[in-house]
């Protein structure tokens, strides 16, 4: 099967075309660096199926970041397991022809047959311009097709062109270099000859000449002195021509392209819609104060919407949960243990978590909007203005902002950062961003304790504040890391601002669908499994005499002073009966394995105001933070603390009181406790999957360090919030 690679500058629509050609649904987004790994798919061409390879965007082949290297390695056939492509489709932003052709000229030197896709053709037309394709095709010597990736226009033409290119093997003519460059290349060849395992190609030698730290030098095994001397000599000759050696390639290539492109771009009448307005919008959006204000206001609106739109949908899911619980409980009535596992354990735990699906969908709706309009890159720019002093910049802030959806894609997105040290710092702080898995925790606690007291406005504000907490820790942490631990040099801000675009509804809906699917799968697998274990640890042991003992005590306390009430116990729905059965439930859970563990660890969290039940929730949540919700659900359901009238977890939590100790009878969940829990969850590293991905990127040692750091800082934050909160409120 033929291998066809899609390559081009970042954000030119490679993945959009890939999706059109293969029918796949890889992620597209309107900012550079969406694709950071190669993706394979199958396209059906006239002469049969072919393997398509979607690559991360690259500006040139002298790649310095990990994602660009993937592209370069695939093209040069150096990536194990992937053959060198038979054809490259060079995806070019038609509105930025010259700069995009620079990469094409470099690829030309590899001698692979090429097809050029002039993508974003609609944006070109919108600017009232046109490109003379016939003429350009003649001058470049390769098939050229105009495409609109997001609408699927020009795809069948592109397919035909690819099939044709496969048979005709038409390559882009490489540029001719001035004599000085050729001479320098010859000299370097002479010096390196016989000192590399495989002889260097002309192109590789030119990389030695033009790039400051070319990896090609590593391939020279001996005779380094001579090779270096010949490189310096060649560069000296370039200087004599008036060329800065580091910029020589670009200057020479652009000169070549200027000639090649003369008269190809044409005015096609008046611009029908005028310029796309990106610049004038950006004057406002990137403004030092107005921009930040707009950013903050937008974020507030997002969280307010996440909070308030979801209410009715949540009630629906909650009602469904209660209904299922009733039916299953009825079926399993003769088997109390099984019934408890199903209703108090699985349905209660997973249901309490599943309720938050609407919030996740709404959050991802907004995330998709931000990414697809092109605002993401602006937000990164604003963050750079605000927090640039901490040693991070736009290329770090894009992954960090992605971390608001989930830390894992955020960590993978750091592959766009060239400097390995800056990348390391970014990976270490990205898990502090408030990912969507924290959202249910916040919403549960804010819904139970902030909204009833202070109203929905305060609830939205609290949610907004919780999403900033992690950032406020990440920035100084990054500062300390870059200054003292990993020591990076300040990085220039280099992030291309994409044009604003209207998001495609199908992309937005697809993003929501994927997030929802992921959420449901998590609920049905890892959350479910942990819930079952938590249930078992809370249900067992079941000592034989416990029920009798508790009943006896209950009689001594309630019936003996008032013997007439004994008859009430015959009615299982009477208040007294319910109280007795709740007391028995509480007695069982109080001596369960989990309670023993929780009570043993609770002193650690006592300074943050946590009781043993919250402690159990926190500890059980280390593999996946959402587990706190299902765990609290199971604890209170098994412990007989659920209010029959309104059995939802929020009401249950707000009714919970201390059973013993100095605070007996007072509510467990006071505002300081609630915020202490939320701060703990905002800062703690409670995600096994993230740890595993981090370990793959930076090794277990760093992961262990980051885990210890985040756990300590989370504990410290929780204690601080609780202590300050109680001091202020009392």
């Amino acid at each position: 099967m033929k291998h066809i690679a899609l390559i081009g500058n970042p954000n030119t629509g490679k993945t959009s075309l890939f999706n059109c050609l293969t029918g796949m649904r890889q992620r597209v987004g309107n900012y550079p660096g969406v694709t950071v790994e190669k993706k394979l798919g199958t396209a059906y061409l006239a002469d049969g199926p072919a393997t398509m390879i979607d690559l991360p965007g690259a500006y040139s082949l002298s790649a310095s970041s990990l994602d660009e290297r993937v592209a370069v390695d695939v093209l040069s056939g150096h990536l194990p397991g992937i053959e060198r492509p038979d054809i490259v489709v060079c995806v070019i932003d038609a509105t930025n022809l010259k700069r995009n052709l620079f990469l094409a000229m470099q690829i030309a030197e590899l001698g692979i047959p090429m097809v050029i896709a002039l993508n974003l053709w609609d944006a070109l037309e919108q600017r009232g311009l046109s490109i003379d394709i016939v003429e350009l095709e003649k001058r470049l010597g390769v098939p050229i097709v105009a495409t609109v990736g997001r609408k699927g226009i020009g795809i069948s033409e592109l397919r035909d062109a690819i099939s044709k290119a496969a048979t005709q093997e038409r390559c882009l003519a490489p540029m001719t270099w001035p004599a000085e460059v050729n001479e320098a290349v010859n000299n370097i060849h002479c010096a390196a000859d016989g000192h590399t395992a495989v002889p260097l190609t002309d192109m590789e030698v030119r990389r030695l000449l033009f790039d400051a730290n070319s990896a090609v030098l590593d391939r020279v095994q001996s005779n380094h002195e001579k090779v270096r001397a010949s490189i310096s000599e060649g560069r000296e000759n370039l200087r004599k021509l008036g060329l800065n050696p580091m910029a020589a390639e670009a200057v020479l290539c652009y000169k070549h392209l200027d000639k090649l492109l003369e008269g190809v771009i044409k005015q096609a009448g008046d611009a029908p819609n005028g310029p796309d307005g990106t610049e004038s919008i950006d004057k406002l959006m990137l403004h030092r104060f107005a921009g930040l204000l707009i950013f903050a206001a937008m974020m507030y609106v997002v969280f307010q919407a996440v909070y308030s739109w979801a209410g009715p949908l949540m009630d629906l899911v909650d009602g469904l949960k209660g209904w299922v619980q009733g039916i299953v409980g009825g079926w399993l009535e003769p088997w109390p243990m099984m019934s408890s596992l199903m209703t108090d354990g699985i349905i209660e735990g997973v249901g309490a978590f599943a309720i938050f699906l609407p919030q996740i969908l709404i959050l991802f709706f907004f995330i998709a909007l931000l990414e697809d309009t092109g605002y993401m890159a602006r937000a990164a720019f604003l963050m750079d203005k605000l927090f640039g002093w901490c040693g991070l910049n736009g290329k770090s802030f894009v992954p960090m902002l992605s971390g608001y959806a989930c830390a894992i894609p955020g960590i993978l997105a750091t592959r766009t950062i060239e400097d390995p040290k800056a990348r390391m710092v970014t990976i270490l702080v990205t898990p502090l961003m408030s990912c969507s898995a924290r959202l249910p925790v916040y919403v549960l606690l804010i819904g139970a304790f902030v909204e009833p007291k202070y109203g929905p406005w305060a609830a939205g504000l609290a949610l907004f504040v919780m999403h900033i907490v992690g950032l406020l820790v990440a920035v100084p942490a990054a500062y300390i890391l870059t200054k003292f631990v990993i020591k990076t040099k300040p990085q220039p801000f280099l992030l291309e601002m994409p044009s604003y675009r209207l998001p495609r509804m199908q992309d937005v809906l697809f993003r929501m669908w994927m997030a929802g699917k992921e959420f449901v799968i998590r609920a049905g697998t890892i959350i479910l499994a942990i819930t079952v274990i938590v249930w078992a640890l809370l249900y067992f042991p079941r000592p034989a005499g416990l029920e009798d003992e508790v009943t006896k005590e209950f009689y001594a306390e309630h019936i003996e002073p008032n013997p007439a009430s004994a008859s009430l116990l015959d009615d299982p729905d009477s208040e007294l009966s319910v109280e007795l059965s709740n007391t028995i439930d509480a007695a069982y859970i109080n001596q369960s394995f989990m309670a023993r563990i929780g009570k043993a660890i609770q002193p650690v969290f006592a300074p943050a105001g946590f009781d043993w039940k919250i402690t159990v929730g926190v500890v059980a949540s280390f593999p996946a933070r959402e587990v706190i919700i299902s765990t609290l659900g199971v604890i209170y359901s098994l412990g007989g603390d659920v209010d029959e009238e309104s059995p939802d977890l929020m009401t249950t939590l707000s009714n919970a009181t201390w059973k013993e100790g100095p605070r007996a009878g007072t509510p467990i969940f006071t505002l300081p406790v609630v915020f202490a829990i939320m701060v703990f969850f905002a800062l703690c590293q409670q995600c096994g999957a993230t740890l595993a991905v981090m370990a793959k990127e930076i090794g277990w040692k760093w992961v262990a360090g980051s885990f210890v750091f985040q756990t300590s800082i989370a504990w410290l934050g929780a204690v601080l919030v609780y202590q300050l909160g109680t001091a202020i409120l009392s």
């Binding site: 390695d73 192109m203 590789e204 990389r207 990896a215 099984m338 697998t525 890892i526 499994a529 593999p623």
Partner: protein, 43 residues
Amino acid sequence: MLESIVVAAIVLAAAAFLFNKWRKTTSPKKGCGGNCDCHKTKL
């Protein structure tokens, strides 16, 4: 009796699932991980 066996089986299945998941995520997969050298371009 049968009930206890079924419950025990469910709990064991959950534990096995989690153990398997944990083993899968921590086992070093082939690939580069933090070691960027294997990605090093030859250009």
